[in-house]
């Protein structure tokens, strides 16, 4: 599992890319990724291109990010979900909270 974060050129968007299993072990790394002190993004993108699996604590981490990004006003997009990941997100109806593509 690796997690990287990359701000956009104008600093207004932060892309967090996750590869491998996105589970409880990613907790600290994921927090560190969105709590970067050097940027204050308005939008967040979680790129799940390389994520093979999501467990329920990963869903919890996404809720933490959403909370960090402003709760109901948060702009968080989950991109490049494979079929398995999408299924997990949809069973929990997370499309009500995040833009999923």
């Amino acid at each position: 599992m690796t997690i990287t974060s990359q701000p956009s050129a104008d600093g207004r968007e932060l892309t967090i890319a996750i590869s491998g299993r996105f589970d409880f072990n990613a907790h600290q790394a994921f927090r560190d990724a969105y709590q970067r002190q050097d940027v204050t993004p308005e939008r967040y993108v979680v790129d799940l291109q390389g994520a093979t699996y999501l467990d329920s604590s990963a869903l919890g981490m996404l809720l933490l990010l959403r909370d960090h990004a402003g709760g109901d006003e948060a702009d968080v997009r989950l991109l490049n979900c494979n079929a398995d990941v999408r299924k997990i997100l949809s069973v929990s109806n997370f499309e009500q909270l995040f833009v999923i593509a």
Binding site: S56, S57, L59, L63, L64, V91, S92
Partner: protein, 562 residues
């Protein structure tokens, strides 16, 4: 660093020489002239390090080393062999006998001191490892004891309901609570059964703590007659309030109403459950909502899906541990395998076993992180006596009062007022043994007045599955749009020395109906309105109606206890 060091050496000269070197380095010295003496001295004095000659009379160094090592147990007592042997084979023997190092004669004090220091470091390392191992073992035992105690407390709460009912089968490991799984079942005063399967994110104590208020609220509100929707809202609000942001509870709540032939389902985040017909046809109970504890009360959607329910149907719920569990080869059990088991089933009574067998075959062992529950509706559920626990006076007091309630549009929209009314009625002690019947009658009267009277719904709609869904959709739509209309309820209690009676009167703003005909139809085709009226007649001691069908009146009577 002052150590007690045992020197075992049969040559007095060598012994003296070594003793002097070691004592000069600041250690306390014990000496033995042969292996037997060395072992005896070790037992008595427990030195921290041994310098051992290999070849000695009575017992050689190899045997003495083996015995000392075995006496030392978990403690590391480094043994350094003193040897003039130089063939490799002999040196290997020293190490195989449990020696930790060796030093070749003649002794070099600097090397000797360095070796003693190195061995002392090893010794401390070993001591730390043993200490930490023991600490972990103690803590783990403590944790298990605490979990056992916590589970015993929780079981008292969780099994307050009807999990033990003969028509419920479930599989949950004793560790389920600490895996975040939760299963609750209870019968409401009206005879509905509520079943809740929940799965908290995370494991261990946090999940278990979250489960506690959930169970309490579920059982408390069910016993008081609250509707599934109200209970669910409360559960969500409570969890939202107490759980940290990243924690939530995936859950399915079943509201099983055999009397009205309705299953209401709310699924937020659990895998599909199934309603299984006697002919094997399956209706998936799909997750349509976010899990409990995610949304604020204002945004929470407590909309239940309704399905027709008949005797002989079966309900199956499972936690995601079932489909997401993987075996030693890292394959997921998956939905397909589960569906294959369901498809292959011929004897419905064997279904539960077949699923368990398939899981066992797949994993090769029983797993402790999955929950499975089946409700068998092949027989009518036995009516339940209301627990007589919620704080009413024990002694019957004379009662002589009446009360009138008029519920107008806004209140009708807002939800079910009956639990509150029941609490008022249960202050009349004599009614308590019949609380279930009284409540069931209140519910029938109220839903009859609301659905057919105020909302003007035709129960004939409920004849088939599609109509059924239409009926409940129309009910929510019309209720949401309601601006005019009322239901008037009158409760009248009279007691005297001989006994007493409760009279419940109800009137609504609807067009009225032909009570006589509805009662007649109840026996023939499936007229649900008639069925409700029949139930009222069976449960009460007197049933009368106004000619225009807009008002009904029901009596419960009792005689004074001897």
């Amino acid at each position: 660093m002052r150590l007690t060091i045992l020197i075992a050496e049969d040559s007095p000269v060598d012994r003296m020489l070594l003793s002097t070197i070691i004592a000069r380095q600041g250690h306390h010295v014990l000496t033995a002239g042969d292996g037997l003496e060395a072992v005896a001295l070790y037992e008595r004095e427990r030195p921290q390090l041994v310098l051992m000659d290999a070849l000695m009379p009575l017992m050689d160094g190899f045997e003495a080393a083996r015995r000392i090592k075995s006496l030392a147990g978990d403690e590391l007592v480094p043994i350094i062999f003193l040897t003039s042997l130089s063939e490799n084979q002999a040196l290997v023997r020293c190490l195989e006998a449990g020696g930790d190092d060796f030093i070749v004669k003649p002794y070099n004090p600097v090397i000797l001191e360095a070796k003693i220091k190195a061995m002392h470091r090893l010794r401390r390392l070993q001591a730390t490892v043993v200490e930490q191992r023991d600490l972990i073992a103690r803590r783990n035992q403590q944790l298990l004891d605490e979990q056992r105690a916590a589970k015993a407390i929780f079981d008292k709460v969780a099994h307050a309901g009807c999990l033990g009912a003969p028509n419920i089968r479930y599989r949950q490991s004793p560790r389920a609570l600490f895996n975040g799984d939760l299963l609750l079942a209870a019968q409401s005063p009206t005879g509905q059964m509520f079943v809740l399967l929940g799965d908290f994110t995370g494991h261990g104590l946090p999940a278990a703590i979250g489960a506690m208020p959930l169970a309490e609220t579920f059982y408390g509100m069910t016993a008081k007659g609250y509707a599934a929707k109200d209970i669910l809202r409360e559960l969500n609000a409570k969890l939202k309030q107490i759980l940290p942001v990243e924690m939530f509870c995936c859950a399915t709540l079943l509201d099983i109403n055999l009397t009205q032939g309705v299953l209401n389902v709310w699924n937020g985040g659990l895998p599909d459950g199934y309603l299984i017909r006697p002919d094997g046809e399956r209706v998936a109970l799909v997750s349509r909502h976010l899990p409990l504890g995610v949304l604020a009360p204002g945004a929470f959607d407590a909309h239940f899906e309704s399905h027709p329910l008949k005797l002989g149907d079966r309900l199956l719920l499972l936690s995601d541990g079932v489909v997401e569990s993987s075996n030693a080869r890292d394959e997921l059990f998956g939905e397909q395998r589960l569906l294959a088991v369901l498809d292959a089933n011929h004897d419905a009574k064997r279904l539960f076993d077949e699923i368990e067998e398939a899981l066992l075959a797949f994993h090769g062992q029983l797993r402790d992180d999955l929950s499975l529950v089946e409700v068998d509706l092949s027989e009518k559920m036995a009516a339940l006596q209301l627990p007589l626990s919620f704080g009413a006076p024990k002694e019957g007091r004379p009662a002589d009062w009446s009360g009138r309630f008029e519920l107008r549009a806004a209140s009708l929209r807002a939800g079910n007022p009956l639990p509150l009314l029941l609490q008022v009625l249960l202050q009349v002690h004599q009614l308590r043994p019949r609380a279930g019947a009284v409540y069931a009658v209140l519910v029938e009267l109220y839903s009859n007045a609301l659905e057919h009277g105020v909302l003007g719904l035709d129960s004939a709609l409920k004849r088939d599955a599609a109509g059924f869904a239409r009926y409940y959709e129309a009910r929510s739509e019309r209720l949401a749009a309601l601006v005019d209309g009322y239901i008037r309820l009158e409760l009248d209690i009279q007691c005297d020395a001989a006994g007493g009676r409760l009279r419940i009167g109800i009137q609504d703003s609807g067009a009225g109906f032909d009570v006589e005909r509805a009662l007649g139809e109840a026996r023939g085709v499936e007229c649900l309105r008639g069925r409700g009226l029949q139930l009222i007649r069976q449960l009460s001691d007197g049933f009368a109606w106004q000619a225009d069908g807009r008002g009904l009146s029901v009596e419960f009577r009792w005689s004074a206890q001897a």
